[in-house]
């Protein structure tokens, strides 16, 4: 097991390197750079920028250098100094911009994932062992509705409920008095009271999907001969179900988690814009539009690292659950 984890961890390194290269290249793909976007914007407003000034900026930012040199300088800064470069648009170091947003994205994704698990696992099990009962039909129907409703619509519905029923300020993660306050326990609690809307909005489709997934896998497992063997031992029915088929269906459950974070983070962008949440999504979108390349590349890099890490965790959990993986 220890060896497996080490090996899995080592595999991660080339993956991350590759991702960082791809992230940087993608940023370079659109024609032009931040400065040409800037020039174009000024021209659209009928002004012109001094050509001399622009080329001096290009020199300062190192935009004239070949791509691989730019990449190397960028990645070296990250590894040696934790320096992700400067954001052109904000005129500040990228590292000053991304960490709080990454942190909030992480909290939001983690809470949503926990929400999905806590709801989907018991409901999925219930739905499978009570197949074709009224309860199962209700769950299945709700699941379809949950899968089919677009997230932005859910977001609007829950914002309305939050506003009209709970009297909360709409949008954002904090009430106005806490928005720029320093971190404190009341501020944290205030965040939690706002967090439920994005969690439910983001989690609904995932929950519905995972319920169906759990139900289908468990139904398969319930028909396997080892279930009869367990019954033939004289075990009580709840123990038969929990110790054997549920335990084995858990493997599928965990392997389904490898992709859940990716879906959540990408899905969160739209929801964050609708709910005006200070997560990575809205900022990343703006950075991409204005070709604010170090900011955009750093976001993509860090989000990818987060996904790679979550895949690693899910793989380790799977190996811990399933000896057939652990031993090969």
């Amino acid at each position: 097991m220890g060896l497996y984890i080490v090996r899995r961890f080592l595999y991660m390194i080339p993956t991350v390197i590759l991702i960082s290269i791809v992230a940087f290249m993608i940023i370079q793909l659109p024609p032009g750079d931040y400065l040409s976007t800037l020039v174009a914007r000024y021209e659209a407003e009928g002004e012109t920028l001094d050509q001399e000034y622009v080329s001096r900026l290009r020199e300062i930012y190192g935009l004239g250098r070949p791509v691989h040199v730019q990449y190397w300088l960028w990645i070296r800064g990250i590894i040696t100094r934790g320096d992700f470069g400067r954001s052109f648009a904000w005129g500040r170091p990228v590292s000053a911009l991304i960490w709080t947003r990454l942190g909030l994205t992480f909290v939001l994704s983690l809470t949503t994932t926990l929400f999905i698990w806590i709801v989907a696992l018991p409901v999925g099990i219930y739905s499978a062992i009570r197949q074709y009962t009224v309860g199962d039909y209700v769950v299945t129907t709700l699941g379809f509705v949950g899968l089919a409703t677009p997230n932005f619509l859910l977001a609007l519905i829950f914002m309305y409920i939050g506003f009209s029923v709970f009297g909360q300020t709409v949008g954002g993660l904090f009430s106005p008095e806490f928005v720029s306050a320093p971190w404190s326990i009341p501020r944290f609690l205030n965040m939690l009271s706002h967090l439920w809307i994005p969690v439910v909005v983001l989690g609904t489709a995932g929950t519905a999907g995972l319920i169906r997934h759990t139900r289908a896998n468990l139904l398969d497992e319930l028909r396997k001969p080892y279930v009869v063997t367990a019954r033939a031992k004289g075990l009580p029915e709840w123990k038969v179900i929990l110790k054997y088929p549920v335990r084995i269906a858990l493997n599928f459950f965990v392997s389904a988690q490898a992709t859940i974070l990716v879906t959540l983070v990408s899905g969160a962008a739209i929801v964050s814009i609708v709910l005006s949440l200070p997560t990575t999504g809205p900022l990343l979108l703006r950075a991409l539009q204005s070709q604010d390349m170090y900011l955009a590349a750093s976001f993509i890099l860090m989000l990818s690292v987060m996904n790679v890490l979550s895949t690693l965790i899910s793989d380790i959990a799977l190996a811990w659950l399933d000896p057939r993986i652990r031993y090969t």
């Binding site: 001969p225 080892y226 063997t229 033939a232 004289g234 029915e237 110790k243 493997n251 031993y327």
Partner: protein, 369 residues
């Protein structure tokens, strides 16, 4: 009266109520399992052996259920319980499962959990029924693994099934069956999934374990040769019922049922090379949806008596030496006909009476509205 039969099954019927219709998988199973002996049950695939065996432990999955008959378990202390009347999910049957009656399944790989160790899967039974601690149970599991001659028992106890060979898996399954020293061990085709050499070894092991543990064994197989190897008594099944039962020697040397005779003719010599087993019988086993009326074997029987076998259901006849047979050749046909016509008439009358009663209920219901 002390009964020297451990288990007496009488006219057991287990039906599956599917959307397409009722599958009469077991239809009038009558069996006697002698104490401390091996009863072999033989029959073609689909004759209801597995469903019958599972019925004995109330392990039939929905939509199947026992609809009729009795399964009397006669305990050593003189008490008796009718298993067929127990709630399949209740504590009474759970106390019997694994402890008094245990079962070995055909597919050791899929019948064992892939993610639990051998020791865990066997030990939990001992903890459950005997109240042993984990450590005590582990000692007992080790002892059991040695009794089933498991190679490297000390290592196997912490192994997973995918690390074992087919023969070792079946040994683990057997150890599980023996875990609580059951009075009846049911083995449902325990060697079918194994290669020929391993089959012989496992059969030999089961025979020796039966002798040393002294339990009764119900050994299910589709191969007559295996029966000759290790059973004392044999029950021949056809389409959900036992057509002939008796001691192995007796049945093999003086088969009384045409089906048994065909079976015996279809194997060139007794022994383990049984590749040409039951195929040689004329025709096909009918699907249980369309069981032939009268004697279920009549469309394949070489001794078919027109006007008799297709009209009358052969009753169970007791012959000498404790043998039973279900064939009209051994019955008084006129008496059977009279009895079954009388019964049919009574049923018609009852049905008519019920219909009339329903009509009058309907009428009353109509008036009150």
């Amino acid at each position: 009266m002390p009964d020297n039969n451990l288990l007496t099954v009488d006219e057991l019927k287990t039906y599956f109520f599917t959307d397409e219709g009722v599958v009469k998988a077991v239809d009038g199973l009558t069996l006697e399992v002698p104490r401390g002996r091996t009863l072999g049950v033989v029959g073609e695939s689909g004759s209801g052996k597995s469903v019958g065996a599972r019925s004995l432990m109330q392990l039939v999955d929905p939509p199947g259920r026992i609809v009729e008959g009795s399964i009397m378990l006669n305990r050593a202390d003189g008490s008796t319980v009718d298993i067929s009347s127990l709630d399949p999910r209740g504590p009474a049957i759970r106390a019997i499962r694994g402890d008094e009656i245990a079962m070995i399944f055909q597919e050791p790989m899929s019948s064992l959990s892939p993610v639990h160790t051998v020791g865990d899967q066997i030990g939990e039974m001992i903890e459950l029924h005997w109240g042993y601690t984990k450590a005590q149970a582990r000692d007992r599991v080790l002892e059991l693994l040695q009794q089933v001659e498991m190679p490297k028992a000390r290592g196997v106890i912490d192994s997973y099934t995918f690390e074992l060979s087919g023969g070792m898996r079946q040994r683990a399954m057997i150890a599980m069956g023996l875990a609580c020293d059951p009075s009846l061990l049911i083995a449902d085709e325990p060697t079918t999934a194994l290669d020929v050499t391993t089959q012989a070894v496992i059969l030999d092991l089961i025979r020796r374990l039966q002798e040393s543990f002294g339990m009764s064994v119900l050994f299910i197989t589709h191969a007559l040769g295996v029966i000759a190897e290790l059973a004392d008594h044999v029950a021949v099944m056809y389409l959900g019922s036992v057509v002939e039962q008796g001691s192995v020697m007796d049945v093999f040397h003086r088969p009384q049922h045409p089906y048994t005779r065909s079976l015996l003719r279809s194997i060139p010599s007794l022994g383990l090379e049984k590749k040409r087993r039951l195929e040689a019988i004329r025709g096909m086993v009918p699907h249980p949806f369309n069981r032939p009326g009268g004697c279920p074997f009549h469309n394949r029987c070489p001794e078919f008596m027109p006007g008799v076998c297709d009209q009358l259901v052969p009753p169970l006849e007791h012959l000498d030496a404790g043998r039973t047979v279900r064939c009209l050749l051994h019955s008084d046909v006129d008496e059977v006909r009279a009895r079954q016509e009388e019964q049919a008439a009574a049923e018609r009358e009852a049905a008519a009476g019920e219909a009339a009663a329903q009509r009058s209920v309907g009428k009353r219901g109509g008036e009150s509205r």
